[in-house]
């Protein structure tokens, strides 16, 4: 793990970039062996290309040397997708961070993959535009990483996840070939390779440029906080609002433990005595906002909401969202580590699954808090723990498994927006048959016949397409598989 890479290999990459952009120091490589998950990998060299031509050169050399490659954006991913195994080369696109073009007449932007999500929206705000997907990590995560994981965010409820906002891309395949897929002209003939690459988790190639759809800012926005005496009442309100024909721009739920933690952190005057809080945002024309707000207020009253607090101005709206998006930072006050889960259930099963999650927490003596995208049934149970206590870590893993199994049992799926990566890889057989997984392996193998791109991610060990078995990769200690 701590050994230096073979100098010959390092020097060959250094000749392509410059020595300062090839990282070989064991300490730094240890940092690149991690991402936002709790897995620690085994990182080989790290290269930091700045242009597509440099990416191509690195990919060709890796191809010639037969080295596996793990593409990396900001490293904020939560499923271990950017964690290298077995000394794989990490190719970071963090230095490819230019916004190349903004075209308000489409509207779209052409960006390099290292551009940060929030930076893009900030850069186009003066045009009345924004980039719709808004993961909670949007200040730190990159558009390239968003493409890899098909990232979501609170506002994906009405506007859709990343795949619906990617018009085209440039991708460098495992052998160094460059392809431009899609673009501003919709529906080119043939298969939708562009759409397929989104969510590919770095296993299909390195995306080096992305054309994203920009969205017009809604003329009116109203943001509301509703507090409920029980989780079931909050769940009923979610169902009631959707049932009334309103898909809010965002509809987030926070349970009491989380509200208490956030309030201590943000001081937004949140009702800490409530069992659950709903943050509902509606946007659009004045008429849409008025009618949707009325529905939210009516359903809130019918389902037992204590009061509906409407943000009076942009500052208060920002405070509501700060409370929502600081949830994970707030947990640092409770325990040194947290494990953030991600799974989806049919919206109608939300209350039932939350009850089961509380049960799991009680059975295993763990603090589990919830803050999540209620509108689309996308749960994010958060388990607070201390990784220095190995016995506790074991219980955390056990709870994770039970939560996933419970979600799948009520018709859910493994992940809503974080991806499969290493974390969920071995759970894939819970939702897919061997035949289904073989088909996925075949689709992946069409892009990367040698299986060198981000090996051992997404598909379980032994998944194969015909005679070709995907390289399993050895799992480092401390992963939760």
């Amino acid at each position: 793990m701590a050994t230096t890479q073979a100098p010959a290999v390092r020097d060959r990459f250094a000749a392509l970039l410059d020595p300062g952009r090839v990282i070989d120091h064991p300490l730094e490589r240890r940092l690149y062996g991690r991402d936002g998950s709790i897995a620690q990998g085994d990182c080989g060299l790290v290269v930091l290309p700045e242009t597509t031509a440099e990416v191509v050169a690195c990919m060709r050399l890796a191809h010639d040397l037969g080295i596996p490659v793990v593409p990396r954006g900001s490293g904020t991913g939560l499923c271990g997708g950017a964690v290298p195994l077995d000394g794989a080369l990490v190719l970071s696109v963090a230095r490819m961070s230019r916004i190349l073009e903004v075209d308000p007449s489409v509207p779209c932007a052409r960006v390099e993959p290292g551009v940060l999500n929030l930076d893009l929206s900030t850069a186009v705000r003066h045009l009345g535009l924004h980039y719709a997907p808004d993961p909670s990590s949007q200040q730190a995560c990159s558009i390239g990483g968003n493409v890899a994981t098909n990232a979501g965010g609170p506002h994906c409820l009405a506007s859709g996840v990343t795949a619906q906002h990617i018009l085209g891309m440039e991708i460098v395949l495992a052998d160094g070939e460059v392809l431009r897929l899609g673009g501003t002209a919709p529906d080119p003939p043939g298969y939708d390779l562009r759409g397929f690459v989104v969510g590919g988790e770095g296993t299909l190639g390195v995306v080096t440029e992305i054309t994203v759809r920009l969205s017009r800012n809604p003329p009116h926005v109203t943001t509301m906080l509703l507090d409920f005496p029980t989780v079931a009442a909050a769940g009923a309100a979610v169902g009631g609002i959707i049932g009334a024909g309103v898909i809010p721009a965002a509809m987030e739920m926070m349970d009491q433990k989380m509200v208490v933690a956030v309030e201590a952190f943000v001081r937004a005057d949140l009702p800490v005595e409530a069992a659950a809080l709903l943050l509902v945002e509606v946007d659009g024309t004045a008429a849409e906002v008025a009618s949707h707000t009325a529905v939210v207020e009516r359903v809130g009253a019918e389902t037992g909401a204590g009061r509906v607090r409407v943000a009076r101005d942009e500052a208060e709206r920002a405070l509501f969202w700060k409370a929502r998006k600081s949830a994970f930072g707030a947990v640092a006050r409770i325990a040194p580590n947290y494990y953030l889960h991600d799974c989806v259930v049919p919206r109608t099963r939300l209350v039932e699954i939350l009850a089961r999650i509380y049960e799991i927490g009680a059975e295993l003596d763990l603090v589990i808090m919830n803050v999540f995208h209620a509108g689309d049934g996308n749960l994010h149970p958060l388990i607070a723990f201390d990784r220095r206590d190995p016995e506790q870590v074991e219980r955390v893993h056990a709870a994770g498994t039970l939560i996933i199994e419970a979600c799948v049992a009520v018709g859910g799926v493994l992940s809503g927006e974080h991806g499969i990566g290493l974390e969920k890889r071995d759970f894939m057989p819970l939702t897919f048959s061997a035949t289904d997984l073989e088909a996925q392996a075949c689709a992946r193998e069409a892009f990367d016949p040698e299986g060198r791109m981000n090996p051992a991610k997404v598909l379980p060990i032994g998944s194969r397409c015909g005679e070709i078995v995907l390289d399993a990769g050895s799992l480092p200690e401390g992963t939760w598989l």
């Binding site: 489409v106 994981t149 098909n150 979501g152 859709g160 996840v161 795949a163 619906q164 392809l179 431009r180 897929l181 002209a185 919709p186 529906d187 080119p188 003939p189 043939g190 298969y191 939708d192 390779l193 759409g195 397929f196 969510g199 003329p219 169902g239 959707i242 049932g243 024909g245 024309t285 004045a286 008429a287 849409e288 008025a290 009618s291 989806v344 049919p346 919206r347 995208h373 049934g377 859910g412 799926v413 493994l414 992940s415 809503g416 974080h418 991806g419 894939m428 048959s433 289904d436 997984l437 088909a439 996925q440 075949c442 689709a443 992946r444 193998e445 069409a446 016949p449 997404v458 397409c465």
Partner: protein, 349 residues
């Protein structure tokens, strides 16, 4: 003689394809047959698989906004079921006689694409029967989810060449409280300017269609928003689609669609440009028309395919090969190893 295969279940469809692969028999896949006049012309395939016998409604979960149906269910029926719960499948182009599977295989998005998005974004889970007879499920039935590789996106628009879509789970949306069409005539430059105003105004239109001598805008939402925009008057019905011997669909950047419209009006070709989307459908009567439209689309950085028409218009249905054809070929080989499915639909794949 073409043998007709009429499976009544996904399992029967897979079995029929397994047998066809074993016999190396080519198979044409047909849903309602409303979008079958596409691809390169040629002699009939050895067998024709009709999906219309697979017509079960598997599950409608209005509270979860999902509908799962077998591929042979008529699209009109799917829309009726959704509407019975106050919901819609707004991304789908609804034609009498079309099937859900056919709409998806042809990636037939509706005129409401401007606001509702492309039909490929509405498919949550798909079951396909591959060319060699495997039943593969991909995606997930929840309204949101990452479930491994996005095979549903590959299936949509694959024209049956990767596998036969046998079942689909669709994401539904609430029906808008009100909707109506508004229109205007006048010089092209004025209509393009009016289209731009409609696209950037406060009310997000569901559709802004430019056609010869006309502009049509559909608004949907609360009653207060469904009022004639300045300079437009109410229309009693949706505008007619361009009619001709064949139909070309061009795709160009939405920013350049007006330029394509200028050339089409000069040439006197009936057309319908989906402003803000970048799609333009053009009625054509000759191979020369196809070539002209394609030439203009290519010059604007786009593309143009013949999506409906008799054989003589389809000598070259697509124009230049898109990037990544070798990847498409590899995908095809892995899902339809004997290459039996719709062999003329995407020849380079």
């Amino acid at each position: 003689m073409t043998t007709v295969l009429a499976p009544r279940t996904p399992g029967e469809a897979a079995q029929a394809l397994s047998e066809a692969t074993a016999a190396r028999a080519s198979v044409t896949v047909a849903g309602g047959g409303t979008r079958s006049r596409r691809g390169r012309p040629g002699p009939p395939a050895d067998r024709e698989l009709r999906t219309t016998g697979m017509d079960r409604v598997v599950a409608h979960e209005p509270a979860d906004l999902t509908l799962t149906v077998e591929a042979g269910v008529p699209v009109t029926e799917a829309v009726r079921i959704a509407a019975s719960a106050g919901q819609a499948w707004p991304q789908a182009e609804v034609r009498e006689g079309s099937t859900v599977g056919g709409v998806l295989a042809a990636a037939a998005s509706s005129r409401q694409r401007l606001r509702s998005g492309a039909v490929r974004d509405s498919l949550l889970e798909v079951v396909i029967a591959t060319g060699d007879g495997r039943l593969v499920t991909a995606g997930g039935r929840t309204v949101k989810g990452v479930s491994g590789y996005d095979i549903p996106r590959l299936a949509v628009g694959s024209l049956g060449t990767l596998g036969v879509i046998v079942q689909a789970t669709l994401k539904l949306w609430p029906l808008p409280p009100a909707r109506a069409w508004f229109g205007a005539g006048g010089p092209l430059a004025d209509r393009i300017a009016a289209a731009e105003r409609a696209l950037t105004g406060g009310v997000r239109p569901s559709s802004v269609l430019l056609g010869p001598g006309r502009l049509a805008v559909e608004l949907a939402g609360p009653e207060d928003d469904v009022r004639a925009p300045e300079g437009l008057a109410p229309l009693t019905e949706a505008p007619a689609e361009p009619a001709g011997e064949g139909l070309v669909e061009a795709g160009v950047s939405p920013a350049l669609l007006g330029e394509l419209a200028v050339r089409l009006e000069e040439a006197g070709l009936p057309y319908e440009a989906w402003m803000g989307v970048g799609i333009c459908r053009v009625a054509v009567g000759s191979a020369g028309d196809v070539a002209r439209v394609r030439g203009w689309a290519l010059a604007l950085g786009g593309h143009a395919s013949v999506i409906d028409g008799p054989d003589h218009l389809r000598a070259d249905p697509w124009g230049p090969e898109p990037p990544g054809v070798h990847l498409m070929k590899r995908l095809r080989e892995r899902f339809d190893p004997a290459g039996i499915l719709n062999p003329r639909m995407l020849v380079w794949a």
